[in-house]
Amino acid sequence: MTNPSNPSNPSRTRDTALSAPARVPTELTTSVPGGVGSSPHRPDAALKVRGEFAFASDLWHEDMVWGVTLRSPHPHALIRSIDITDALTVPGVRAVLTHTDVPGTNRYGLERPDQPVLAEDVVRYQGEPVALVAADHPETARRAMRRIAVDYQVLDPVVDAEAVVAGAAPLLHPGGNIVRHQPIRRGDPDATAPVVVRGTYRVGMQDQAFLGPESGLAVPAPDGGVDLYVATQWLHVDQRQVAIALGLPVDRVRLTLSGVGGAFGGREDLSMQVHACLLALYTGRPVKMVYNRQESFYGHVHRHPATLRYEHGADRDGRLVYVRAEIFLDGGAYASSTPAVVANAATLGVGPYEVPNVAVDCWGVYTNNPPCGAMRGFGAVQAAFAYESQMDRLAEAVGVGPVEIRLRNAMRRGSTLPTGQVVDSAAPVAELLRRVAAKPLPPPVDPAEVDLRQLPGGVANTTHGEGVVRGVGYGVGIKNICFSEGFDDFSTARVRVEAVGGEVAATVHTAACEVGQGLVTVLQQIVRTELGVRRVSVLPMDTSIGDAGSTSASRQTYMTGGAVRAASHAVRDRLLAMAAAELGATATDLVLAGGAVLSTRDGAAVDLAALLGADAVERTAEWRHRATEAVDPVTGQGNAHVQYGFAAHRAVVDVDTELGLVRVVELACAQDVGRAMNPQAVLGQIQGGSAQGLGLAVMEEIQISAGRIRNPSFTDYLIPTVLDMPPMRIDVLELADEHAPYGLRGVGEPPTISSTPAIVAAIRAATGLALTRVPVRPEHITGT
């Protein structure tokens, strides 16, 4: 981003942030550098740029053998028989396993155990694991795998989610094909309004497109258990599921996080975890599994494709009277996190607006499409494309601008959601919109100075400015932060302080997964701030400590940050008590600062290293956010969520209307983050999230036909490149949430939600087209 007028420079953004009204009162006891609110260097940054970072796919053990997975070529089939005899004869093969070799329960699942570790008598999606091979060399394993004879009886795949809801599909699971139906009923179901707009919207299947494929190394242990080194998002949920499948007590399955190359939700479900452990236990050798790119597309869940039918009723000024909606989410072959995705789409289905009368029905169903589950912003992303498109239609019907219609309906602190829950912290929806709307617009294309890279089609030479129309569009979104609906959401952290070589040093231990978002750095910052200790090391994340919950739902800085702060406070209390005894003072007169304990009364000081001597102070804390509750299954009423995140985008696009090509010229974003714990990481999340939303708007889609993925490669599944991503103007607001540690608000998901509708609105503004489906493709614009 070399554009000198590009203001996405951290210092300016911070200034904007600091001018925000309600900043959290700081309780910083220290001035050691690198604390909360600064942006210290990340330990992984230089390694990643230089290509030296060790990812899970780099794991190596001298004695290891390689595991591969035989997958179903059919989206739906009965398995009549599996014959492994031929595969076993290949020299170098160590084991060939099928479902009969699964020692524990052959079922797993994030929310429901409905998925077999290895298929039994039926396969429900293309790519479902059927058998495993371990061999001395990965090629040997693959060759042996091709010699496994599976006799399939191919069945018609169920591929239409709406037809499933209508009851017109054969049963795929014993309990029925509806994974969850969640209605939301608020106010008058028969409300009427003078202005009514309707629309049906569709969202294609997006992929997380992380660069590091699924990989891990399972090492059999002398106690009959197994140690698994793996790239994942949630160590303990993996551990529990692996133990059940292996029939082992939980403490015999130990996991350690390995280098994660991106996650975005796609690593929340198991992939190779049980498989590698099974092979390790059978062969008695360390087993490495690494998916290739194509296999990775079959090896993880995707974003639910959706059909959304909406009706908005408003008064003549555009104030919403009612919203009615039916949302159909295709969950694919297994449940994964579909129930939670349904909850989000339903409870957040009207967006960040005040609506007195709401009737939403949301269904998540089984089909024979690839399983869908967690992906950044889940549920909220699909709904936002529909409700924001509707808000633009409403604006047009009423005759006001897109910003004005949103301002007239914007939710605020104190607003009531369709679930009946009152929003009890900042909800600056109007402020965010005003900020992006007030930013200067980028200059129009200057025909005299055409830089092809700035035009639709880029350097493909498709246009030199002729036939190009500019459009501007807006989007705003809402996302629940942390786990909702009564889930016992907690994290665990251990903090230890000791003197090392005469200098005081702290160590942090959690099971919270660093997936590239910068959690390690934030945890260090928290300890520096709380204990005034400069040297903070973060131990490898593993299951030898308590659960930290998932790195998802924008929750990890909130939850594990909260746990580390709590553990730090416990350590601090102990240190102050020790110093009080040493100094003959009362602990309440003492503070920690710069590696020493100081008396606020008489300035007396004791150096921490001296105070500790050969001892260490170590405390473990388990930390919870305030409780939520399940929503009523019939009315959808209930205090389901802990916190909300909001972001707004303004998109400026140039569209080549002849060829249907879009260039996003600029994205402006304003987001409230409560507290910018690490301002640079916040900007990174906003830029990355916005890019992922851009991808969904104009190019990213897993093409499915008859249940089969047609583009399982990065040649055919397109994600934005640096040439597609425009400069951003970003405002970060810090309106403290008094319920959250440091007042912070989860950052990762909101920018993904609002960038997609803003970009599509801008394309509509340029072309006058309805554009009811994302991704928008050239043929949608040229009208063919």
Binding site: G457, A706, R708, D724
Partner: protein
């Protein structure tokens, strides 16, 4: 990957013999296409004959003003060659619009011409495909056809040829020079690639063991203008939905000469002779360009998901011709800033 024998050839005759003597032997160029296919199991050769050390890596002038491009000249080098940039901008632009910088550094002229279709069913070895496995059927026909052909397809295969470079070469009337077990040949590029017909497994007219040694570009008059345009789903690093290579000469507001080729529409670079006929001798107006496009595309037979390609091809042709006939000079290619 299956085990295979690897040989590095040091002269042309040896390379040809090493492939000709074994039905499962293939030439290896930059490997950017072939190695992917080895990994995917699309092809399982028993012998690879590496030809990248053969002395076929020069761009040389030909008597009469043409240019000879050796088969091993890398795509990046060819696009950067001053004579190509100045006299054959359509070719430089086509090369730079293809793949990415890293791939172009490896990809060879010969390999680019012989790269195989990106039809997803061709690459997915679990589905039937007449091109990969003759007689097995065509999975695309009742599959997802957004990227497939609208011209010249057969009931056996509806795949498109993916090369950008070949489209420019088709418009340039280039000639492919080969050296095979039966001697040397010169094949006009427009006759080099085949339509699928009943034998979609054959992409070109080459015989087994026939090595491409060079591509000859005929001389171009100084008055000729040319350009390549490619329409794709993102700003870089994606195959063409539709592309157009066009060369025109103007005399007194009339088009005296036109050579047009489409990419992304057919099993081969599609030389648009019907469009050329309409253009020749006609005034350089929007109406002429429309008529030319329609004359060519009237025979298009879209599949379930690719009807958009027809108007897209028309609009692309009209806009490239408009630009070529309005501009005073040939456009210089832009160096792509590939991430």
């Amino acid at each position: 990957m299956n085990p295979f024998e690897y040989r590095r050839a040091t002269d042309v005759a040896e390379a040809v013999a090493a492939v000709a003597e074994r039905p499962d032997a293939v030439f290896l160029g930059g490997g950017t296409n072939l190695v992917d296919h080895l990994k995917l199991g699309v092809t399982r050769p028993g012998r690879l004959v590496d030809i990248t050390r053969l002395p076929l890596d020069r761009v040389e002038p030909l008597p009469g003003g043409g240019v000879r491009v050796g088969a091993n000249v890398r795509n990046s080098d060819l696009a950067a060659e001053p004579v190509i940039r100045s006299r054959y901008p359509v070719l430089a632009q086509a090369l730079l619009s293809g793949a990415s910088g890293q791939l172009r550094n490896l990809a060879t002229t010969g390999g680019n011409l012989l790269q195989r279709t990106r039809c997803v069913y061709f690459q997915d070895i679990t589905t039937p495909c007449n091109k990969r496995m003759p007689g097995s059927g065509c999975a695309a026909l009742d599959g997802y056809t957004r990227h497939h052909a609208v011209l010249g397809a057969s009931p056996q295969c509806v795949a498109v040829h993916p090369s950008d470079m070949a489209v420019a070469l088709a418009a340039l009337d280039a000639v492919v020079r080969t050296h095979g077990p039966a001697g040397q040949r010169a094949i006009p590029l427009v006759e080099f690639h085949r339509l699928p017909g009943a034998q979609p497994e054959r992409d070109t007219v080459l015989d087994h063991g026939e090595l491409i040694t060079a591509v000859d570009l005929p001389a171009v008059p100084a008055t000729r203008r040319s350009a390549y345009r490619k329409v794709r789903d993102r700003a870089s690093y994606a195959f063409a939905l539709v592309s157009v290579a066009a060369e025109v000469e103007l005399r007194d507001g009339e088009i005296s000469q036109a050579r047009i080729a489409f990419g992304g529409l057919a099993h081969k670079p599609w030389r648009a002779q019907r469009a050329e006929q309409v253009l020749r001798g006609a005034p350089a107006t929007a109406a002429t360009f429309q008529r030319a496009a329609e004359a060519e595309l009237v025979g298009a037979q879209p599949l379930a998901d690719n009807a958009f390609k027809v108007p897209l091809a028309r609009n692309t042709l009209v806009s490239v011709l408009t630009e070529l006939t309005e501009l005073t000079g040939a456009t210089e290619p832009t160096q792509e800033d590939t991430p």
